[in-house]
């Protein structure tokens, strides 16, 4: 069965790129342009993995994760960030974050990580 990933980013271009990128890896995707959007989508669907930009326009990424964790205790996510050291002050591992990747991202790294996590 094909795996399904929810991509959350407030930039349309990045959503489109990542969705296309994952499609070529034969992964199904849904995209959310905001935290609120992500929660609504997550309520109605089940996902194997979440890709989340920590800096979102409205609701911030950590708050989104807290709600997703309540909706689905088994949620697993990878954070995409511009600056790891300043972003990960809160303990996000307890919220289901298994890894993070820093922008600009190396696409080979990205591919490897994604394939690795959705296999689990």
């Amino acid at each position: 069965m094909r795996k399904k990933v929810l991509i959350v980013d407030d930039e349309e271009e990045i959503l489109a790129f990542m969705a296309r990128f994952l499609k070529r890896l034969e992964i199904d995707t849904a995209t959310a342009i905001s935290g609120e959007d992500a929660i609504e989508i997550y309520k109605k669907n089940s996902f194997d993995f979440v890709l989340l930009d920590i800096h979102l326009g409205g609701m911030n990424g950590v708050d989104v994760l807290k709600i997703l964790k309540k909706l689905d205790p088994k949620v697993r996510a990878m954070i995409i960030t511009g600056n790891i050291s300043s972003d990960l002050k809160t303990d996000v591992h307890s919220l289901g974050v298994v890894d993070y990747i820093q922008k600009p991202i190396d696409l080979s790294d990205f591919k490897e990580k994604i394939l690795n996590y959705i296999k689990q």
Binding site: P104, L107, S108, D109
Partner: protein, 389 residues
């Protein structure tokens, strides 16, 4: 044949354009767009070496159907096969590294089927290439360093790349390298210039402070006169400012240094709480000329020293030490003159009390055409109504 001629024309056009663009990002964007259009490919992009991270930033990728990578979103590590293939001379040394076509892969894999290490590299290279959906890759070197890698997607008509097209890309990539180096050089020179300017200004400020501390009644005077002068200059019509782009720079330095000649005047005279004797007064009146003399050896300070030399001249010719009249007084000095008077009147002096701001303004207006140039007084009044003074 016709197409090749087009390429040549295009190349010389682009080369000329590129030399004018001093922004590497903009340059990349322009090149990628034109490559996509000229070759009729679905998309193309480039990796541009970033000295700080020692990685390659994926600068642009254009095309409707291609992978449209958002600006600044992706990079490629220097250790990736697609980079290594070109940067590591010991890898597949017999292969021509001027370009690489994805169609070369099967033959290479066959050739190295008994060399697991190389074969592994080739599989990884294939993976990389497919990640960027490249059909053709062209490197650009600067002094043996891999600076840029073009990756070119499938052609719209799915045809193979011709020798002419590949040639075009290799020439283009070396042009791009030169243009990027040129842009960097331009940027470096600009930064160097700005740094020098900053250094000069800091030195001048230190010098101005040296005069300031001598005189206990005028603390911060040079700085304030500079601030007022700059505000006034904003409201002087540009056509009156000699070489007006650098006029402001000169004015700033001249205002900071306008009293530098006071270095040669004994402190007890400068700080004397009562009126000066005629002899003492004559000495004080020499400070503009002495200041100009101090600055004389600095060739680049010609205009600046005019501001220092004539800042106590009066529009009606009754100033000192040269008794210049009206428009004989350089604008730079006339501006400092008003700013200087304004600060003097608003500060405590040993021989009189501080004046109120509206009294000072009245005083300056009443001295229009007498002590002060009418142009500068008008500009001064504009700064007052704009509440900048």
């Amino acid at each position: 044949m016709k197409r090749r001629k087009d390429f040549k024309e295009y190349l010389s056009h682009v080369a000329k354009q590129m030399i004018l663009i001093h922004d590497a990002d903009l340059l990349s964007k322009m090149v990628i767009r034109t490559v996509t259009r000229t070759l009729g490919v679905k998309y193309s992009g480039l990796f541009l070496y970033d000295k700080n991270s020692q990685e390659y930033i994926i600068n642009v990728s254009s095309g409707q159907k291609g992978l449209k990578i958002p600006v600044g979103f992706a990079k490629i590590k220097s250790t990736r096969p697609i980079i290594k293939f070109f940067s590591d001379k010991n890898l597949l040394p017999e292969v021509n590294k001027d370009f690489f076509l994805v169609t070369q892969l099967p033959a290479l894999k066959r050739k190295y089927k008994n060399d697991p290490k190389t074969l592994d590299f080739l599989y990884n290279l294939e993976n990389d290439i497919s990640l960027y959906r490249a059909k053709l890759i062209v490197p650009g070197f600067f002094r043996n360093n891999l600076l840029v890698v073009f990756f070119i997607g499938k052609k719209e008509d799915s045809k193979r790349f011709t020798k002419g097209e590949i040639n075009f890309l290799t020439v283009l990539s070396s042009d791009v390298v030169m243009a990027i180096q040129n842009a960097k050089l331009f940027e470096d020179t600009k930064q160097q210039l700005e740094e020098n300017k900053r250094l000069l200004l800091n030195t001048v400020e230190a010098l101005a402070n040296a005069i300031d501390v001598k005189n206990e009644y005028t603390h911060g005077h040079a700085e304030r006169v500079t601030k007022y002068s700059m505000s006034i200059a904003k409201y002087i019509p540009n056509h009156l400012k000699v070489a007006y782009q650098s006029f402001e720079d000169s004015l700033k330095i001249a205002a900071l240094l306008h009293d530098i000649g006071k270095i040669g005047i004994p402190e007890d005279i400068l700080n004397k709480p009562s009126f000066l004797t005629k002899q003492e007064m004559d000495l004080v009146k020499k400070h503009p000329a002495m200041g100009a003399e101090i600055l004389e050896p600095i060739n680049e300070f010609k205009i600046i020293s005019l501001g220092v030399k004539y800042h106590h001249e009066r529009y009606d010719g009754r100033g000192y030490p040269y008794n210049l009249l009206g428009d004989e007084i350089p604008l730079i000095a006339s501006i400092i003159s008003v700013a200087d008077a304004f600060d003097a009147m608003s500060s405590d002096r040993p021989y009189r009390k501080t004046m109120k701001k509206n009294e000072i303004i009245k005083e300056i207006i009443s001295n229009k055409n007498k002590q002060f140039s009418p142009i500068v007084v008008d500009a001064f009044l504009k700064t007052v109504s704009a509440q900048e003074i």
